[in-house]
């Protein structure tokens, strides 16, 4: 693990380093961390509203690799609790926003330090609650720490507004101020990092935040809230409302919620945008929605591509975490000159994928998150088999767990929904294209615009594809997943999201509103400034 460092808001941002698991000494601590966690399960997740803590076992999260194992029991927040939490937040936000950016940053950086201290424990929790394989669980904890550290510094940067034009006798200034109450609705697939990013941005900007985490990962969300409160965020300014979709819907409807930060499925995202557009009694503002939704991400492979790199890059893009990433690759558009070779080599590589428990370091593809996901993806694979040709399918282990075989399909009918709709599972389609031009046209025809990949060694082709594709993140000659805070700001365009990049310089300002102050500095014609 990286050496400890002081929490100094003015020190430059630096990414948290993932565990160097290629060294055996670093691997040895993992099993112990998991055993220790197992001994403490299930974790009770209450509703946390200010100082109130209400425990109840209304629902639970289970180990996707062993559904009998209960990871957490959680209280389902009521509509009344939603109202209490938002009302409290509206009041608390005023005090929080009056602190200096550096003070708010200090709390976030202190919380980051707490996460850093709990790194192995939190990664173990992700292994259990979400079946994140160790290296990715560790990377998720690192990303959560990065978000806290990054937005803390962004708040300080934005405290000084941009320079404005000035004239004698007047003084103009622009400052960014908090919006008020931010509702965060987060997914389970990056159970710590994504809520950490949205919550930290809300807080760094001076807002109060109410978090409704995915019902599949309440325990990981609880760890985040605990760290932030322990780090110095006032308890009234940060509440946790575990629960299902109704809790999120109640938050979205609430007239005192000013901003909704949502990461999740396209259908829910569009519903949120629609609901947020409706103004209600007592509502004094237009609600803003920051949405990060799904995609149908394509990787283009040109005839000059280095297939030795393309094959492992594509396999990682499509199948790591069983394809349950919004950035995951779903389609390969291969130049017809290399299609046959690439399809054959990819098929061979897919057959080798090891499907297994997230806790095993040799696992390439863990189980899916839950039974519903397994049903849905297996259904897609069945349809793929009937409307195309299965080129490779890895075997799945016997025993419990929501396993699903990583599958490569070819020859799909061009109208097949599998080429246009998000699957969110380990299913990859490969198609030949006559030219890079055709490949770009295929990507442009999709309603999404999240990530895309390109394997090409021609600088002109790279330039042209970068100019053309409507995606938020284009990855050239590498995998399309694993964006790093500050280095690859991440987010999609079109129906994939509102476009502003998480972990980038444009993100935090969305959680603020600009205010311009113009002061007349003359008194009866005399300049007094």
């Amino acid at each position: 693990m990286s050496e400890p460092r002081a929490s100094r808001p003015r020190a430059p941002f630096r990414n948290e380093s993932p565990l160097e698991l290629r060294r055996s000494a670093n691997r040895e601590s993992l099993a112990g961390a998991l055993a220790e966690l197992d001994a403490s399960l299930p974790i009770a997740v209450p509703t946390l509203i200010g100082g109130e803590r209400r425990h109840s076992a209304d629902f639970g999260s289970t180990d996707p690799g062993n559904p009998e194992c209960l990871v957490a029991t959680a209280a389902e927040a009521s509509e009344h609790e939603v109202d209490v939490a938002v009302t409290l937040a509206a009041a608390a936000g005023r005090d929080w926003s009056r602190r200096t950016a550096e003070q708010r940053a200090g709390a976030l950086i202190a919380a980051a330090e707490i996460l850093r201290r709990r790194r192995l424990e939190l990664a173990a929790l992700e292994v259990r609650e979400c079946a994140k394989p160790w290296p990715e669980a560790d990377a998720d904890v690192c990303e959560a720490i990065d978000f806290l550290e990054y937005y803390a510094r962004e708040a300080i940067r934005l405290e000084t507004g941009p320079a404005l034009g000035q004239a004698a006798g007047e003084h103009n200034s622009l400052r960014y101020v908090a919006r008020g109450v931010v509702a965060v609705i987060s997914p389970w697939n990056f159970p710590l990092a994504i809520p950490a990013g949205m919550v930290a941005a809300g807080l760094a900007a001076g807002n109060a935040v109410v978090l409704k985490p995915a019902e599949q990962s309440p325990a990981t969300a609880l760890a985040l809230i605990e760290a932030l409160r322990e780090g110095g965020v006032p308890i009234e300014a940060l509440s946790l409302l575990p629960g299902h979709g109704e809790v999120g819907a109640a938050l979205v409807r609430h007239p005192q919620v000013q901003l909704i930060a949502f990461t999740g499925s396209g259908a829910v995202g569009i519903e949120i945008v629609r609901e947020a557009a409706d103004t209600q009694d007592r509502q004094l503002h237009l609600k803003r929605v920051i949405a990060e939704l799904g995609g149908k991400n394509c990787i283009i492979v040109d005839s000059d591509a280095d297939l030795d790199e393309a094959v492992p890059g594509i396999v990682r893009s499509a199948f790591s975490y069983a394809g349950q990433k919004c950035s995951a690759a779903a389609r390969v558009l291969a130049h017809e000159q290399v299609y046959e070779t690439l399809a054959r080599r990819l098929a061979g590589a897919v057959e080798l994928l090891r499907v297994g428990q997230a806790s095993e370091l040799d696992t390439d593809v863990p189980p899916l998150i839950d039974a519903e996901a397994q049903d849905r993806v297996l259904g897609h694979i069945e349809r793929a088999a009937s409307s195309g040709q299965v080129l490779a399918e890895a075997s799945t282990p016997a025993g419990p767990g929501w396993f699903c075989p990583p599958t490569l399909v070819g020859d799909l009918d061009p109208t097949s929904p599998l080429l246009h709709e998000e699957v969110f599972g380990p299913l990859l389609a490969i198609e030949p294209v006559a030219s890079i031009e055709d490949a770009c046209a295929a990507v442009e025809a999709l309603p999404f615009g999240l990530t895309a990949g390109l394997f090409s060694r021609n600088p002109e082709t790279i330039d042209e594809v970068a100019r053309r594709l409507p995606v938020g993140n284009l990855y050239v000659n590498r995998q399309t997943t694993g964006a790093i805070v500050g280095r690859q700001p991440f987010g999609g365009n079109r129906l994939s999201g509102s476009g502003s990049k998480a972990g980038g310089p444009d993100y935090l300002a969305q959680f603020m509103e600009p205010r311009v102050i113009t002061e007349n500095t003359t008194r009866h014609g005399l300049v007094v400034e």
Binding site: L21, R22, D304, D306, R345, G348, D362, R457, P459, E460
Partner: protein, 455 residues
């Protein structure tokens, strides 16, 4: 023979003697006009990072280009990214604007790559390389063959590599059987030396290298290594397991000792491994290796090839992106010093117990080679209890000079398709034309005293 008896100043004096002896046998550029032109190209690329990048990207993509036109377009694309373009490159860019110009230019590039490939690649197949290997033997130089090929990402590809290795062993054993006797190359203090010598890469023998789970690769590679070891034993050939990046190191080491521990292989064949001196933990790693050799109790000494390491850029970039401390020395002098430290550890072991380990010094650095030779000589070994290994294409002159100086010398010979193979060699070239390379310093006319000075 006790290492403590060798005084530092005596060693330095002897290094000077050995170094001058070898240097005196190196040819000068005037004797090889064509080679001198190649050297000039290599030198130009060592001085200009952008130019070097353009050249290597071009060689790298050549096998994937579908026509001469396509190749010329790539050249123009790479050239456009070189800011300070030499005149010929500007001319090339102009030529690339017309179809006819591109065909001419593409043909010139393809020809250039093939020309370069002939220098670095001993033949397109083991059978086609045998004449070249026999030629080396006649000059008193042994060889180790390395089969070039695409990366292994499927089981079929691993099986195909195994089949190529088995075929190579047969071809090499048959071809070397009737070589004239050469006592220096046929025997060393550890016993009989195999003439047929094949270097293999673990990453080519299994598609399942998992840095965070070395067992996956070991279990998959071991079932392909066994038939290879059986064939080598039966044919009296030597198998050398190359070391690659740190991501594959544990897999490679564990694979080696799993095989060495199997009763079936107690008596043979002769096996070797590589230690990379640029790794910060290589001294500790070598110590563990030597301890485990003692435990294995095999009849044949374990070959250890000491090299600087050819994945420096990769290691530094990967560590930088992950925020890890680089596993390699970042200063050339640190690495050179470590190379000498490891040389002495290995030689101490060989002098004490020649039945347990054999040493190969894989280096083009005159100082590093002279140091090992001098150390062994001062310990009383005559001829020195080591072998020097160099790369074909880069160390050819050095190999001849070493052999003429009475040193056991082996050339590492890549074998495979000329155009595709050249692309696979790019990484090694990149490393060896780096600014700190001895060869470029020598070509630059750096005085001998400076080249032989302690790091």
């Amino acid at each position: 023979m006790k290492p403590a008896t060798i005084a530092a100043d005596a060693l330095e004096r002897e290094i000077g003697v050995v170094g001058r002896e070898i240097a005196a046998r190196l040819p000068n550029a005037a004797a090889h006009p064509i080679r001198a032109i190649d050297e000039r190209i290599m030198q130009a690329t060592t001085r200009d990072r952008e130019l070097r990048a353009a050249l290597f990207r071009l060689v790298d993509v050549t096998p994937a280009c579908r026509s001469l036109d396509d190749l010329a377009r790539h050249l123009a694309g790479f050239a456009a990214e070189v800011e300070d373009r030499p005149k010929p490159l500007d001319a090339a860019m102009r030529a690339a604007r017309s179809k006819a110009g591109r065909v001419t230019l593409g043909a010139a590039v393809a020809g250039g790559v093939r020309h370069m490939a002939h220098r670095f690649i001993a033949g397109e197949s083991p059978a086609r390389a045998t004449a070249e290997l026999a030629h080396l033997w006649d000059a008193g130089i042994g060889s180790s063959v390395d089969l070039l090929g695409e990366a292994t990402v499927t089981s079929d590809e691993a099986d195909r590599y195994l089949a190529r290795c088995l075929e190579a062993l047969e071809v090499l054993a048959a071809a070397t059987a009737d070589y004239a006797a050469h006592p220096l190359l046929d025997r060393d203090p550890g016993g009989r030396l195999a003439r047929a010598n094949l270097s293999v890469k673990v990453s080519a023998l299994t598609p399942l290298i998992r840095p965070e789970h070395p067992r996956s690769g070991v279990d998959d590679a071991v079932r392909r290594m066994r038939p290879l070891l059986r064939a080598a034993r039966q044919l009296g050939a030597h198998l050398h397991i190359d070391t690659e990046s740190v991501d594959t190191r544990e897999t490679t080491t564990e694979l080696l000792f799993e095989l060495l521990g199997e009763p079936e292989f107690q008596a043979g064949p002769s096996i070797g491994i590589v230690v990379q001196a640029y790794l910060r933990d290589s001294a500790a790693e070598l110590e563990r290796l030597l301890d485990r050799v003692d435990g294995a109790g095999r009849a044949q000494p374990l070959g250890v090839r000491l090299v600087k390491g050819a994945y420096w850029d990769h290691e530094v970039v990967e560590a930088g992106q992950q925020g890890w401390s680089p596993p390699v020395f970042e200063e050339k002098t640190e690495c050179d010093r470590n190379f000498e430290l490891l040389s002495r550890s290995l030689l101490d072991r060989v002098h004490r117990d020649p039945g347990s380990v054999r040493v190969a010094i894989g280096s083009h650095n005159l100082r590093s080679v002279a140091h090992a030779v001098a150390y062994s000589r001062l310990a009383g070994a005559d001829p020195p209890a080591l072998e020097v290994q160099v790369l074909r294409g880069l160390g050819d002159d050095l190999a001849r000079a070493l052999a003429d100086s009475g040193l056991r010398t082996r050339v590492y010979c890549p074998v495979g398709d000329l155009v595709a193979g050249m692309a696979y060699l790019v990484r090694r070239l990149l490393e060896n034309t780096a600014n700190s390379s001895f060869l470029s310093e020598q070509a630059d006319g750096t005085p001998l005293e400076q080249l032989l000075a302690p790091p």
